[in-house]
Symmetry: C2
Subunit: 126 residues, 2 copies
DNA sequence: ATCTAGCTTTACGTTAACGTAAACGTTAGG
DNA sequence: CCTAACGTTTACGTTAACGTAAAGCTAGAT
């Protein structure tokens, strides 16, 4: 099924503005086709948008998300290019693993904060 | 032991510029004392800086990191304030848990990419 | 005394990621 | 036919998080 989405469809579904979608297109992150001027987004566009927004939630820049999306598709190229790609993939993973560490620490700290907060609210507790 | 750090000490240790440290102070995130004009950073400042940078790696804004740091220290206030704080703590945690989900997904995707990349490099593999 | 190294403040510049507004085309409904 | 609703392009505005440069203070070395 080759579903197509209007710009408003996508904007509403992902809670972004149409300006944002046009901006992403301007930056080369989305490539909707045109129905006589009007943009028409494919499932591939929709998936890319999901990945971009996921990246955003992780604090990645649009360029970083763009890079990662390219990694997903790249299985082509000569050996030289593939090995450079492999390096980039592994580098990104290292960064994400570092983030995972940071996340655990911050969650633990929040846990502490909550505990102290509860203790302050309810001092007479077993 | 009440160690003190110069602005250059801290900048080098955390690989940031002195401008960054002054900027964080301007924003109220650090509060170094003064030795006759010159800034002198305490262990508390150093810890706050660590937390700020951890937040940055997770994609938090300075304001968000600032909020979280305040959560760590706040055990005071009346019941009203404590309960609002508790809400904020739990909200932040929810956000971090979402991030954790996103992280897992992205790591899995990268894993896939790496596998396809290796397959393309070494087609004749069991 | 002078020079240098490192600190200071002040202030303007820069980049990413959109927001906002103006001006215009087009298509479905009354 | 007119307008209301959505789409388009163009272009200037905005915010966060610093970078960069100018101008000056000060303590130690030469």
């Amino acid at each position: 099924m080759t579903t197509a989405y209007s710009i408003r469809d996508l904007a509403q579904e992902f809670s972004v503005t149409t300006r944002t979608l046009r901006f992403y297109e301007e930056k080369g992150l989305l490539k909707p086709s045109r129905n006589k001027q009007t943009r028409s987004y494919s499932n591939a566009d929709r998936t890319r948008l999901r990945l971009i927004l996921r990246g955003k939630r992780l604090g990645l820049s649009l360029e970083e998300s763009s890079d990662i999306i390219l990694m997903y598709k790249s299985t082509s190229g000569n050996q030289q290019q593939l090995e450079r790609l492999l390096d980039k993939i592994r580098e990104k993973r290292q960064q994400l693993l570092q983030q995972q560490e940071d996340l655990k620490l911050m969650l633990a700290d929040l846990q502490d904060s909550e505990a102290r907060c509860l203790a302050a609210l309810n001092p007479t507790h077993p």
